[in-house]
Symmetry: C2
Subunit: 470 residues, 2 copies
């Protein structure tokens, strides 16, 4: 049901709740805003700000494991970068979490086929040196089905290949083997745990990532490369195979990092926010280019390019470089908690945390009053080769927390076919970013953010929207 | 000049030198031999013996650095495998060489961009921990041009990218930077040496390989990954960059390994040899699948398949699994020395040491009397998609020594486009071998070897052929 701008203005004047679908006026993107967003889109397609940002972050800071010295340098870098990019306001939120350290790691096959195994400790693993016979499982379920205590003295090997997919859906199984496997192995009495990685590459790269132990006793847990998983599977098939796992890692106190937040202050509704997020931390093995340097770069660049426009946006553009996503959305939870009474103030949220691959679809969740406005946004980015998937898709990571609380969310689906070759590996380096894809990404985020900031009404944020979340 | 078989028989009876082109009879492959070779070719195209061999070697033995415990296991494996494959005679030659060991290695950028650098010690490097400012050179020549002593206390970085090519020609430059760079750096007074690898991959793999110091004082020398070379180049461009290099490696006494030789004894001329070679050792980082497990597999399989034929070959098929190729053709030199008076007894030599990629060309060097016979060989393998490049191409590695002494040689050009992504890296693992290409390789080597063994005359081996070598 279409409403005129007049009746919308009337509703505002009457102070009626904008987010209630029953009474909400239909929101619209004014023509001049569509025109500005189109200009912004085309400018972003030829701009290398995002590239310069990610080059700077991955080169000058490099790896930035949450709680490490690189984390501190990344925070300083982000504050300086926001300022250099012309953001009006830069502020931080403290984020405190248990500090996990990786010091050294080594794996080897013992006996008549003795050889090194490329592996890496899973985040959250305790240190320890264990050796024992390998028992292979071809599913997590099979491991979970064994009797408690029945694998006493063994080292569990869960060997589940992860399928490659544009939408990255194969990560669901892989990540679940990583998160739940060590606890299940511990419950069965095993002294150690190795797994085929939650990753799709065969370049001898190890894939780290967070694990947990549910309520079981933590045991040393590591991920092999896919090549080493192949090798171990062949050796186990040939006969009894013993391996040694020597991990020096573990939790060591707590650390306080920061969410670093840059804002382009809105000219008309400065307390209303279009929030763009990505995470500043990375795993330690690579330089965190695709996970999530690209996200940091394109969101920072989007705000910068909006600031360069002749007209300042009506609502505030807020870009958040989140602390410690990798070990459990620590920064995202601090932000969401701090904004729990300001969900309605979030005109729209969006995030980039599945790599800066080409965006192939645009969706999200929003109120019914925003259907036309979001379609207008889509029409501006459609020429970038993007399909429309209205009311589908998650904002990802930290912003999914906000979406879950009812913030209207844009969800950009990036091609993740290669993402799980790289993420959490030593091979997540700058050369993996396609500069053209990064420009397309920046163009899409910037154009949508600008239109959201300058829409003539709400996009439906508020607790009532929670049910609309896919 | 064509000669009849009769006049060839007459020359033999008169004891005239066969290798002298002026008097040599024209050699021919009898029709039934061509037919057998065609059958053998087609059988090899559907046979998985070579795959089973390389799977066994890379899995059960794994890495086999010359002088390591893996070297000893590889020798035992090769002896057992030749026997299991039905070779008539298995014998060894001792090969003694200086033993180089890699124990640990670490590199890092110091200061405000501190971060780890993926690197690996070059074979032959001494151990040592050094730190200093990086001086980058974009060519070996530029480094060689600096004044002696002018880089005192510095760490040299030679940054020359290696081009990808089907014929692998880019390795020439890369390997020369590796072999000559450390000596040139030492001469200039540098305390350490790092280089962009002699390799074409961007998967964060380090590429090792042998270096030397000419007459200069050895200094710690390592190769970065291409990604880390990019990173170091960017950091150096930003300003003064210090790195630390901590290598624990070096020569440690001598070691005696063995060339392992399997023979299918010839039925008519058992002292005449068709020799197929590959090297049994590998670098330690990977499992030596493409370098040179594939070569070991296809030469061993070729002999085995020839043995399976109804008729035993007239000349002996000799397959040599050479010791320590990687550190300087040690096994090849022992073999060549042992055969220096038997060049004429080598009907033909061939080797596989540029990876088991698809063979796209067949050439080599042979006497003029063998021109027709070699063309007949080519005609049998032409349907495998192979071009003919007569009197061109080197037999490679160990067999190039024999070719250089005048042995007639078959040279198979394997597609090496991907070879330098993998060789000498941790990523040289079984999954990199294309089973279909390995079958094509085996088919070509086996068919040519059989025809050489059953030719009705010489292929021209002898010192006189040396000038024919390209």
């Amino acid at each position: 049901m279409r409403k005129s701008n007049l009746s919308w203005a009337l509703l505002v004047a009457l102070g009626l709740p904008l987010s209630s679908a029953a009474f909400a006026a239909e929101t619209h993107i004014p023509d001049e805003v569509v025109k500005d967003a189109t200009t912004l889109r085309d400018r972003a397609l030829n701009d290398d700000t995002a590239w310069a940002i990610v080059e700077s972050l991955t080169t000058e800071v490099g790896p930035r494991l949450a709680g490490s010295e690189g984390d501190a340098r990344a925070v300083a870098w982000a504050k300086a970068k926001f300022k250099a990019l012309g953001y009006d306001k830069v502020w931080t939120q403290d984020v405190t979490f248990p500090k996990w350290e990786r010091r050294s790691e080594h794996g080897e096959v013992l006996g008549h086929s003795s050889q090194a195994l490329a592996l890496t400790a899973l985040g959250g693993s305790p240190g320890g040196t264990v050796q024992g016979e390998v028992v292979r499982f071809d599913s997590l379920k099979a491991l979970q089905a064994v009797a408690p205590g029945s694998l006493k003295g063994k080292i569990v090997f869960v060997d589940v290949p992860m399928p490659r997919a544009r939408d990255g859906h194969g990560y669901g199984v892989g990540a679940s083997v990583r998160r739940r496997g060590p606890g299940a192995a511990s419950r069965a009495g095993a002294i150690g745990y190795v797994m085929r990685p939650a990753g799709t590459d065969w370049h001898r790269n190890v894939h780290t990532g967070m694990t947990g132990y549910d309520d079981q006793t933590p045991i040393p847990a590591a991920s092999l490369s896919n090549n080493d998983a192949d090798q171990l599977a062949r050796l186990v098939a040939l006969g009894k195979t013993e391996i040694k796992l020597a991990l020096d890692c573990g939790f060591n106190g707590t650390y306080t990092s920061q969410n670093v937040i840059g804002e382009i202050t809105g000219s008309g509704k400065p307390d209303d926010i279009v929030a763009l997020g990505a995470h500043l931390d990375s795993w330690d093995l690579g330089t965190g280019a695709i996970d999530d340097g690209g996200g940091i770069a394109l969101t920072m660049a989007a705000g910068h390019l909006i600031k360069q426009m002749k007209t300042r946006p009506i609502r505030t553009i807020r870009v958040i470089a989140f602390a410690n996503e990798e070990q459990g959305l620590w920064g995202g939870r601090v932000y969401a908690e701090s904004q729990k009474d300001k969900i309605r103030r979030h005109q729209m949220v969006m995030e980039s945390d599945s790599g800066p691959g080409i965006i192939y679809a645009f969706g999200g969740s929003w109120g019914t009053e925003a259907e036309k406005a979001v379609k207008q946004m889509y029409d501006v980015i459609a020429p970038l080769g993007i399909a429309y998937t209205p009311q589908q898709g998650n904002a990802e990571s930290e912003m999914e927390l906000m979406q879950g609380s009812g913030a209207a969310a844009a969800a950009f689906a990036h091609d993740a076919s290669r993402y799980f070759d790289l993420h959490h590996t030593p091979n997540d380096t700058l050369d993996k970013i396609d500069p053209k894809a990064l420009q397309q990404n920046t163009a899409a985020y910037a154009a949508v953010a600008l239109m959201a900031a300058n829409a003539d009404g709400s996009l439906g944020s508020g607790p009532a929207l929670v049910k609309a979340k896919p």
